[in-house]
Structure formats: C-alpha cells, structure tokens
C-alpha cells in the first residue's frame, strides 16, 4: 500500500450539507488506505459533518485550515473493516 505524497483535491465549495460529505464519501471509496484528501468547503456545517463522517468510518482528520470565505479539511483515508465495507 502506498501513501500519496500530494493530497488529492476535492472542490466542495457552494455545496450545502450533506453534499460535502457525499462528495467526500464518493471520492474516498476510490482511494487507498493512507491516501490524503483535501476537501475545500464553504458551508460551515461541513466543519462538523466531515469529521463526524470520518469518525464513524475510520478516517483521520489531519487539519482544518481557514480561508476568507472557505476552509479546507484534510483527511487520511483509513483501512477497510474486516467485512470489506469501506467507506
């Protein structure tokens, strides 16, 4: 398993809850454990939803960085569970 040196980028700006989570979920399903994804959002709700989604699906939030009207959530993709039910 390799780790992406450069985070993949996902533009979730202008999307309202729960779309930033859905877009994140749909991107992560095609990524490998250890890969990094940076999600750019403008809905403040995503600041709570994406970390919640990561907690229940075994991914790790690395950083939440602030911009003027948007923010970026960086996460590391976790391992799939024993049933093979990844995020």
């Amino acid at each position: 398993m390799t780790t992406s040196p450069i985070p993949e980028q996902l533009d979730a700006r202008r999307l309202l809850c729960p779309l930033p989570v859905i877009r994140t979920q749909d991107r992560v399903v095609d990524m490998c454990a250890g890969d990094i994804l940076a999600v750019c959002c403008s809905d403040p709700g995503a600041r709570y939803d994406i970390p919640a989604w990561c907690r229940i699906n075994g991914h790790k939030i690395l950083e939440i960085s602030e911009g003027d009207y948007e923010f970026t959530i960086t996460l590391r993709v976790g391992e799939e569970d024993e049933d093979g039910h990844g995020a």
Binding site: R14, C17, I22, P44, R47
Partner: protein
C-alpha cells in the same frame, strides 16, 4: 453456528430511526445505516451558513445518530432520480408539494436495492403506524412495502407486532417478541424506550424532515417553475431556494438578497454565474439576479436592494452592478420606500 444477519437501517436522523436501529442491534444483527439526499432534506444545521443561528447545534442528524449507535452511514445522492418522484407522484401531494407516500416507497426501494447489491439480508425503518398522515398509516404501510418491491424484506421494528411477520422474523434473524407494537401520533412510547436505552438527546423535527412540507419553500419552488415555464430544476436551484430573501419585482427576474453575513458569503460563490449587485456607500446585502434582466430591470433591482441596506433612509445609495456578461457599472439610486415594495414581490 448461524452466520450473523446483516441489515440496512433507513436513518432519517430522528428518534424513530435511532430507536429502530438500536432495537435490531440488540438482537445481534450487523447494522449499517443508509440516508438519502433528495435536495429537499432539512438538517439541524441547514441554516448553519446563517451566523445568527450559530448557537444551534451544527450537525447532520443522520450522521449524529450513526455516531451514537456506532454504525456506518452511507449517504446516497438521489437528486436526479428524485425528480420523477416530485414531478409525477402516483399518490399525489400532501398539504404542500410533499409527495410523502411516493417518497417513502422510493426510499425503501433504493435501500432495498442497495442492501441486495451489498449482501445484506433485510432492511428496516423507524416507521410507526399512524405516526404520519400519508406514509405511515395502517392502510398505506403495505402499499410502501409492495410498491417499493421490498415486500417482506422490510421490517418495521417499532410496530412489527401489529403487522404480519416479515422475512427477518420468519428466518429467525430477529425475535418478534422483542420487537414493539407502537402506534399513533403520541411520542411517549418512543421517549420511554429512548430513556431505557439511555438516549437523552435526539432530534425533535418540527414539521418533518423535508422542505417540501414547508409552505414557504413550496411557494418558492412553484414560483421558480412558473418563472421558467417548466418544472425542471437543477441542484443549484434547490440550494438557492434555501438561502436569502427572494423578491420578484418583475416576471422575468428575481432578486436574491443575503440576510446576513453568512448568507452573503454563501451567495458570493454564485457571483460568476449570476449578475449581482453590492452596496458601495453603505453596509448592505449581496444581491443575485436570477433571470434575464436589462439595464432598467437592474436599476429597479438596485433601488429595491437599497431598501434593504443601512442607507434605506438616505437620499442616494451607490450600488455596483456586475452584469453576467462582464460589464460593471455603478448605479446611484434612491432607495424604495416601504410602500413601494409590494407584498406580492416576496416569494
């Protein structure tokens, strides 16, 4: 030894689906949640973008429920497929544009398809007989099971004892005796069960979990359809209906005004797609023009917008107009009086 059964829970984020999932989990069944995004879902923090609502919990209730239960939640985007449910409901609408019975059948069908595709044995929901006037009546619950195609793969743990046994019960995956017989609009049995399980906090949706049950939202959607001359819509249309103050002073265009800083920030993301206005001389909202507008329309919009800025009582207000085609110019206008803003302009 019998393999552990696997079930998919329809999770709305409310108390009933929380309890139904907890009941089934208590019977040693592997449970994962599913939640559908139609574009019309009301969330605890749908208005998180409004800073004045910042004291309210900013959470997606379905995610929160899943976290309380310790289960995975799969959120599925059904915006495109849902259009047919909204536009052509076989069972008609409720008090507003809510096609509740068709909606329930659609979601159960999608959950059943997802469960089958992912190797789950059955699905279940938090429905309670008599809880809702359209989709949760004794006579309509079999309709949902039948028309969704789920049939006996659909279990309703909170009222199962009042219904014929389903596959989960006849297969021995769950013990029918440990299920419930809740009915009616009273929430007391659910609250008692919540207390039994130690759930002290849960969402209390007032008016349901869908914007289509809301009269004001339905009115905005109807206005959109009338203005465009057809009932098609895109996701951006739905998102914008949830944000800002909407006024239609002329049939050909609508002015969308941010009501506070959070909404202005959100609307700013649409500036490349829409002609837009902002106040130069005073503090005020950002305004988007939805629809084709000529210079006279834009001047009218500027006067109207000036009414909603801090210069509403000033002789003149300067407003910068950014036309979608690229031209930018400044309008110096006299704000409309309160009497000039006609009540029927409010969408």
């Amino acid at each position: 030894m019998m393999a552990k059964a696997k079930a998919v829970a329809l999770i709305s984020g409310g108390l009933d689906s929380l309890l139904a999932a907890r009941v089934v989990m208590g019977q040693d069944v592997h449970v994962e949640g599913i939640n559908f995004f139609t574009g019309f879902c009301v969330e605890g923090h749908t208005h998180a973008i409004r800073k004045r609502d910042s004291e309210k919990p900013k959470r997606n209730n379905a995610l929160w429920v899943a976290e309380q239960l310790g289960i995975k939640l799969h959120i599925i985007d059904v915006v495109e497929e849902y259009k047919d449910v909204l536009l052509n409901p076989k069972h008609g609408y409720g008090a507003n544009l809510n096609p509740c019975l068709d909606c329930k059948g659609f979601m159960v069908r999608k959950a059943d398809e997802w469960a089958t595709a992912h190797g789950f044995d059955f699905i279940f929901s938090g429905e309670v007989i008599g809880q809702r006037p359209m989709s949760q009546r004794r006579d309509t619950m079999p309709v949902v099971a039948r028309e969704s195609g789920a049939g006996e793969r659909l279990l309703r743990p909170l009222c199962a004892k009042l219904l014929p046994p389903t596959l989960a019960e006849t297969s021995g995956w769950v013990d029918r005796e440990q299920l419930h017989d809740f009915s009616g609009r009273s929430r007391k049995p659910q609250m008692a069960l919540a207390e039994e399980y130690g759930f002290t906090e849960y969402a209390q949706p007032a008016g349901g979990c869908c914007f289509l049950t809301n009269r004001e939202y339905s009115s905005k959607l109807t206005d959109l359809w009338c203005a465009q001359g057809h009932r098609e819509y895109e996701l951006d249309d739905l998102l914008l209906l949830k944000v800002g103050r909407h006024l239609r002073p002329r049939p050909n265009f609508k002015l969308i005004l941010g009501r506070e800083e959070g909404e202005n920030n959100y609307l700013r993301g649409y500036c490349r797609q829409f002609s837009h206005l902002h106040v130069l001389s005073h503090r005020g909202p950002l305004g988007l023009i939805d629809g084709p507008a000529n210079r006279d329309d834009l001047l009218l919009a500027a006067r109207l917008m000036a009414r909603f800025c801090q210069g509403r009582d000033a002789e003149q207000v300067e407003i910068e107009v950014h036309e979608r085609k690229g031209e930018t110019w400044t309008a110096t206008v006299k704000p409309m009086t309160a009497a000039e803003v006609l009540p029927e302009w409010y969408v």
